[in-house]
Amino acid sequence: MTSTRNVAGSASAAGPVAAESADAGADDAVGRIRTGRPILLASLVLVAAMVIGVAVGPVGLSPLQILDALVARLPWHPHVFVPALDAAIVWQIRLPRVLLGVLVGSMLAGGGAAYQGVFRNPLADPYLLGVAAGAGLGATVVAVSGGSLALTPPAAFAGAVIAVTMTYLLGARAGSAGESPATRSGTGSILLAGIAVAAMLTAFQTYLQQEHTQTLSIVYSWILGGLSAATWSDVWMILPYVVVAAIGLLIHRRFLDVLRVGETEATSLGVNVARVRLIVVVAATLGVAAAVAVSGLIGFVGIIVPHAIRLTAGPSYRVLLPVSMIGGAAFLVLADVVARTAQAPSEVPIGVITALTGAPFFLFVLRSRRARQDLS
């Protein structure tokens, strides 16, 4: 096996991003899954998206002005002149919003990819196990009980975590009577339990809302989701969850690749499927629940980003998971830029933007990928 062959094979197989990475390391050991290049490319896109996110707004800032404003906060920084307004725009308004977009986007897309892997279901999204319904109920309870708005994120977070816990316990128990490892471990029954729990909590939330119609607009705008209320305290609040979730997911991504051959074979290959699934679900749920707590229910990112990455960088979770996180972050930051500038000074709900831009992009990728496969 020569390295030249290796390059040709990966290039035709794994799409442009992986092809370039194969080029770069062709003399490297044969057969290593190369994650470096796709991650680097995605990171460059993310940095560009963040610069755009900070630069664009009612007051346009150049990248240099942004750099000055950032540098001025460093210890022992060189002397730079930064107008107070610029500094305030960067530090108080745009930077927390962009960073929150990064954290939320990475968790929605990473959580979606992880759920798709662990449940071996391409339609899985981060709200699959009841996160959305639980968080919505939590937020509604705060709204109808007249609690402070500051209570909404913790209530939404708690609602989401409780919903997923219910789903998992009910589903895993229902499945425990099965005969093969696949049915016994309860993947199918967990998904069904998620549907039931979500339906039940949504019904409860709808009932509460109808009983307190004066809070309808508060609840509705929270459910639509968005980053308009982003503050530094939001960023600090969810950062620990995001870090823990990201680490938990990334160190298990190799097992998600093994799970692609099914739970029974993964078991015979030496994977403790139930344990891996529990860890991945806990990590993804913590991250997604934290994201939802501060941003509401932003749809579409968690399903469209992993699939777009899969189609361009290949299906291996070792690439897919980190690149989905980075790509989801970049996508949400850019979508937020559109959301706050398209109809300035009013904002378009970000979920509208993610669906309106994500769907055509996804269809485009799907089409071009199909076309290439048909040709090859």
Partner: protein, 293 residues
Amino acid sequence: MIGFSGLTVRYGDTTALHGISERVPAGEWLGVIGANGAGKTTLLNAIAALVPYSGSVTICDRPAGRLSRRELARLIAYVPQRPVLPPDMTVRDYVLLGRTAHIGYLRTETATDRRVCAAAIERLDLSAMADRMLRAMSGGELQRVVIARALAQEAPVLLLDEPTSALDLGRRMDALELIDEVRHERSLTVLSAIHDLTLAGQFADRLLLLAGGQIAATGSAREVLRETTLALHFGAGVHVLTTDTGDIAVISRRMLRPGSGHERQRADRNEYRDPDHDQAGPQRYALNAEPER
């Protein structure tokens, strides 16, 4: 070495294996034969700890019940009847899955893992296709890919569930010859469920005939592949012939419904009476043209 004793597997109210015991010495190929539903796959699944069982299983002198999934996967490589083959996975990545149990929990594959995989791919003549997607492979090539993954596992015990059921005659022989060669090279203990009785007799050192979750017969092909035994447990008339090379050939007799023009064979049917299914009586066999594949 594989040993099991008092091995019982229940699926709800159904008992699939009734406390069976057997020992397969290191380096032996044991062919497990039996009709559909006799418990062949269940036996393999129990040895691999993929179904809950009672009784004891010993792999290479270690009690399987006390081993972790990882330890077990380093002792047993399992080739299922219908492996899941992700269409967008490359041959190399698929074979690398065989190394799962050798890679540390938080680690990634090492140069050794890649070398073992490359050797397994080379051994099965797949090097030229190592970067091909599984969707672009033929049935025979896929069979070799699955065996390559099992070899990459570097386990002393190989379990094969109907390894050749999807292959044509030529590919089937190729695959079995290959397994036999590899077995000798690496002195593997092989336990395979196999439907084709002639092939089972040709390749396995010893046969184990399962019927209704119990061991009906064990021994050499000559001892187990007898016309009366097979007729009883497969519910079909067969001719057992010995070829001039000493191989045992099992040929099914056509057994069609009465009145279909094969009247002369009807007399034979009445000889076979399955004690487990007496109520169905001989007529039961009249519905079977030949053992199901």
